[in-house]
Amino acid sequence: MARIAIDPVTRIEGHLRVEVQIEKGRVVDAWSSSTMFRGMEIVLRGRDPRDAWVFAQRICGVCTTVHALASVRAVEDALGIQIPDNARLMRNIIAGMQYIQDHVIHFYHLHALDWVDIVSALAADPVKTAELNQSISDWPRATPAYFKGVKDRIQKFVDSGQLGLFANAYWGHPAYALPPEANLMAVAHYLEALEWQKDVIKLHAILGGKNPHPQTYLVGGMAAPVDPNAQQSINTLRIAQLKALAAEASAFVSQVYLPDILAIAGFYKEWAGLGAGVGNYLSYGDFPAAKNSNVASYWLPRGVIFNKNIDQKPAPVSHEKVSEYVAHSWYRYADGDQNPLHPWSGETTPNYTGPQPPYEWLNTDSKYSWLKTPRYDDAPMEVGPLSRMLIGYASGQQRTQELINGVLGQLGVGPAALFSTLGRTAARAVETALVAEQLPGWIDELGANMASGQLTIHNSEKWSPATWPAEAEGWGAVEAPRGSLGHWVRIKDGKIQNYQAVVPTTWNGSPRDARDVRGPYEAALIDTPVADPDQPIEILRTVHSFDPCMACSVHLVDARGVEMTRIKVQ
């Protein structure tokens, strides 16, 4: 029996600590803890609701844009604002590229080194590596000379003796299963992806002025003007630039990312039977095809799946069923910590009861995280690409089914393999391919609007606070790359009275609830094999498969004494 703590969990955003109990080489219990807290919702109180997106976007720089979008949607919902079609499209385009870029970075730069042994790549034959790559893709860079160059570069890096980010890692660990050529191919694409991601994100600079934290969102629309004939607007030239960047993004996804995932997964099929987690999946849905209030038009459907049941259509979602526990979180509820509260009637009093630093271990029997514990219908939920793909699959979306069935067929596994660490990682790649297919269409729509003289980017009817009711409340739902994101806002006398965010990693990385039911990370880690507790790479595989983002996940709800009189369900 051994207990280990992994802190910091690296190759994620933010500060995550995982403690696990290991027995006979397998994880028998696990605790997920966030060790950082800032308090965005308190900072927002009393400010102009039109400013909230600028602040909220800064909840996370990895998930940049998603909190801005959730925020403007929440305020628009509260004030009853419909956005113009050009704004809908620009938001979809920015979000679409965010999915693509974020998922690719996640795989190559945050997750791949759990599966790919860089040192093994030094033993690869560049000619065989090129053959391997050409057998799975027609990517033009896959030549012996190219892979020789990469191999030489790594060799020189290793010979320099300054290993930097790659020192003290897990090279040579028995859990690495790829042959040297597959490792070299993946390392080459790690480096290529680093170049690629900074290029394709220029799309955000065109539409948003910069990345991270694009700056053209507005309550009521977008601030990037559209005019085919104006140099300072989204014009004919910029539409062409957007299309070119979308094509560049799509090429890498279809010719590098997806083939790499399939190739690597083929060597790790046992991970299709590990890391299932809680088996419940939630998605708010996103990418409106029509007016933003029309959930039925969402390209990614809204729904919830219980107990891995993908044979039936997903159940509809009601945000009234969202609630949060603090039984194991460093907060206190006025009426006791055992009962959950809906975010609109939620409350927060920080109540740190953990060990005083410097400390060795958390007291996991009581409170042990800055994350709260969200529940849907009192059940833990996994959110993210796997949830969205399962909900699309179970909803009968044809293209989603085609791609998923194609991946399952290539790997020779059935749909049950989706409920796993490998399934999570594969679903992310499938989703990226789907979004990459969809992105050019939104750009075309924007171009068509522009060409037809439809130039409106903002609905200004409710821009002035003088037009607002004395009190209003709303919620904004987004499917962020990492999963379901909700912002709730209450406005009084033109100011934010209360603001709350319930965030993907809060769902996935939460501590236990009052009945000691584990959250998705904790549940997924049970039964994970750990060959060497000093090098717990297997634990990293499953944790990374969720793509944790801790900065997003710690939030502070403070609505004590605030009675919400109106609950709106989209």
Binding site: R17, R38, V43, F55, R153, D159, L165, N168, W463
Partner: protein, 421 residues
């Protein structure tokens, strides 16, 4: 034992980056740093040393936005060159090992390179409640910052949070969040690179400057490098001509917006924000927030979350600023200048003459001061200007011009009546 470590140029050559491309990069760096071009060879020599500079990147109360910015190094090869040139010993978001092995990397770097590494800090540092609002491996952010920064060759605080506490430190600052300068007071060689996030071209340029000259770039009294933060956005803004001419965006998506007119009336904080955004752009493009159509939010300014808010309020709404009468009146006067002849034209010229000397080395001088002096000029020529009034000797204007000028003034009336407060 490996042979002599390879130079950067050799390493680049090994992966197909030519000497020509390398020198092009050095030239771009020379330009970013505003150095004469004769420095390009010197930068090239400095970049070609064999031992890579150890760098330790710490993340505290952060969003990883500066890490993401760093990953976006944009000119061809810049990311690779930075990765080849420095030895990034510790950076949680991208390092391969986790847990105690990651901490071993930090320990080893501190042990092997005492006083010889650059510490880069991202995120604010919470000081309330004994520091329990941010811990890594059971240690507080504060204790880690003290341990790492106090023995660094230099510390670079990247982004608003690491400078002055950023948004976690915004009112009411629930966690006692502060920047490095307040968390570890008295650090020598502290460079502050505000921004939300900081622009990677500037981060890269500071490192290159150090590698080239073995010293840090000149900074203002706040530790901000002049080359990046020495001038007001307003002075270099592509829309400045529209400001001077009184052409303002009045509503989102109107004709002026589409034509790239001045965003001052939509809340732009460019007149009070020091940054090289207009000249360096973002993500390897010429685009930047104002260019894309939204006002500057002032993210490179001190405590901007409180001082530059509300986002859509005009600068005069910010407590302590006095630019309102000036900026609007300048607009009105400038409109009048079309027909007002030599007198008003002289005012505009005087304004330009006054505002131009705001250079790197008096970077503390702001538009408020420049505007204040400009008002003196206006009043000398046109008589006393009271809020809400045009200059006493308002020149004759044509009807449309008058309408524009009056529109400016009418809206100011609305504001004073609290419409958008």
């Amino acid at each position: 034992m490996p042979a002599r470590p390879l130079t950067l140029e050799e390493r680049l050559s090994a992966r197909g980056i030519s000497r020509r491309q390398f020198l092009k990069f050095c030239g771009a760096m020379t330009a970013t740093l505003a150095l004469p071009s004769i420095f390009t060879p010197r930068i090239a020599r400095a970049m070609n040393t064999s031992e890579r500079l150890p760098v330790i990147w710490l993340e505290f109360q952060d969003c990883a936005g500066n890490t993401e910015s760093f990953l976006r190094a944009a000119s061809p090869g810049v990311a690779d060159i930075v990765l080849e040139q420095i030895s990034l010993e510790y950076h949680e978001t991208i390092m391969a090992p986790a847990g105690h092995r990651a901490e071993r990397s930090l320990d080893e770097a501190l042990e092997r390179h005492p006083g010889q590494y650059i510490a880069i800090v991202e995120g604010s540092i919470p000081t309330a409640a004994g520091g329990i609002y941010c811990t890594i491996n059971g240690h507080t952010a504060l204790s880690i910052a003290e341990r790492v920064c106090s023995n660094a060759l230099a510390t670079i605080a990247v982004g608003a949070c690491a400078w002055d506490g950023g948004w976690p430190g915004a009112d009411p600052n629930p966690t006692g969040a502060v920047g490095v300068r307040d968390a570890v007071p008295g650090l020598k060689n502290l460079i502050n690179m505000p921004g939300c996030p900081a622009n990677v071209v500037n981060i890269t340029a500071v490192i290159v400057h150090y590698l080239t000259f073995k010293q840090l770039p000149a900074t203002d009294e706040q530790g901000r490098p002049f080359f990046a933060y020495g001038q007001l956005i307003h002075n270099n803004c592509e829309r400045r001509g529209h400001f001077d001419a009184g052409r303002f965006v009045e509503s989102w998506g109107d004709e002026g917006h589409r034509l790239g007119w001045c965003l001052y009336k939509m809340g732009c904080k460019g007149p009070e924000t020091n940054s090289n955004c207009p000249s360096v752009g973002w993500n390897g493009t010429s685009y930047w927030p104002i260019g894309a159509g939204h006002g500057c939010v002032g993210c490179m300014s001190e405590r901007f979350w409180d001082k530059m808010a509300p986002v859509y309020g005009r600068l005069p709404n910010v407590e302590g600023f006095g630019v309102e009468a000036t900026a609007d009146t300048v607009g009105a006067v400038a409109v009048g200048a079309v027909v007002g002849g030599a007198t008003v034209h002289a005012v505009a010229s005087a304004l330009r003459a006054r505002s131009q000397p705001i250079t790197a080395h008096d970077g503390a001088e702001t538009l408020v001061e420049a505007a204040s002096r400009a008002m003196d000029v206006v009043e000398q020529i046109a008589g006393p200007v009271k809020p809400g009034e045009a200059p006493a000797t308002e020149p004759a204007t044509t009807e449309p011009e008058r309408a524009i000028a009056l529109g400016v003034l009418d809206e100011r009336e609305d504001r004073r009546n609290g419409d958008t407060q």
